[in-house]
Amino acid sequence: MITITDIPLQAYLVVAAMLFCIGVWGLINSRNAVRVLMSIELMLNAVNLNMMAFSSYLDGAQVRGQVFAVFIITVAAAEAAVGLAILLSLYRNRDTVDMEQFNLLRW
């Protein structure tokens, strides 16, 4: 069993930051509502990668980051199910998936 201090921790953090920023960009700019949900999944995965990197590098004995990652995966699954159900119901009412036309609550 070798230690994993070979790849620096910062490499994982930078990759996670890039993934998070791609997710933010997609969240802002997507006009398809399904793609917005996919961008949210990307952001949640970026956070998970941070958790796992910290858990492996800084907390190797008590792997609490992995426990939190499992909870995040659970919440993400629930979020995806409810989000897609809302999307389906919205599609039946408005007959579109264009985010720019979901403006019922716009002032």
Binding site: D6, S89, R94
Partner: protein
């Protein structure tokens, strides 16, 4: 995971490259079906990175939950709402894209700056490797027992909520004869909440 350093490095570079390229594809590809399949690739590469980080249980959970459930759910949603419509052009779309690129690059610069300048206390305690699965089980049933149970209640609530939200209103009786309908496939016509924006009149009210 006991691999040589060069193998680890090559795996890390390959997986991160696949991850970032796939994420860009998810966001940028015009066809949303390709985006969904690329999302599956992104999630699989993420599971590979978890394996590199000595987290085999979470990698398996990632493959099972994300690739097996969430991605399939997204594909089903795409098939259910797949309406090929030309999106209405917007006036300031290009300006908005450029502005958001600026904002995201600024956020990225901030995050990278924080990651690189903080003095992390590495190396921490030595990694326990494959014994992490046992440790996670101990955590779940001792000090994280309450969040574990709350997570199961949350999943139940999400399941019921998704069913309630996505359920169709069906007609209980046949419209013509008045007899009870024995199959729930007749969907009631619902008027849209607002008249559609291209000026056409809303559909006829439901019977």
């Amino acid at each position: 995971m006991s691999l040589a350093l060069s193998t680890q490095l090559i795996c890390f570079l390959l997986l991160s490259g696949a991850l970032l390229l796939g994420a860009l594809g998810v966001v940028l590809l015009p066809n949303v079906v390709y985006s969904a399949f690329l999302l599956g690739g992104v999630l699989l590469s993420m599971a590979g990175l978890y394996l590199l980080l000595n987290a085999s249980f979470v990698a398996a959970a990632q493959v099972l939950v994300y690739v097996g459930a969430v991605n399939v759910l997204i594909l089903f949603a795409i098939m259910l709402v797949n309406k090929r419509q030309p999106l209405r052009p917007m006036r300031v779309l290009l300006l908005r894209r450029l502005l958001s690129v600026g904002v995201c690059l600024g956020l990225l610069a901030l995050l990278v700056q924080v990651a690189l300048t903080t003095s992390w206390s590495v190396p921490g305690p030595p990694s326990i490797g494959e014994a992490a699965i046992t440790r996670i089980g101990e955590h779940f049933f001792t000090d994280y027992l309450l969040p574990f149970e709350v997570a199961s209640v949350l999943l139940l609530m999400a399941m019921i909520g998704a069913i309630v939200l996505a359920r169709r209103d069906v007609l209980a009786r046949d419209v013509v004869t008045g007899a009870p309908a024995d199959q729930a496939l007749l969907e009631r016509q619902r008027p849209p909440l607002l008249p559609s924006q291209d000026g056409s009149s809303p559909s006829a009210p439901s019977p």
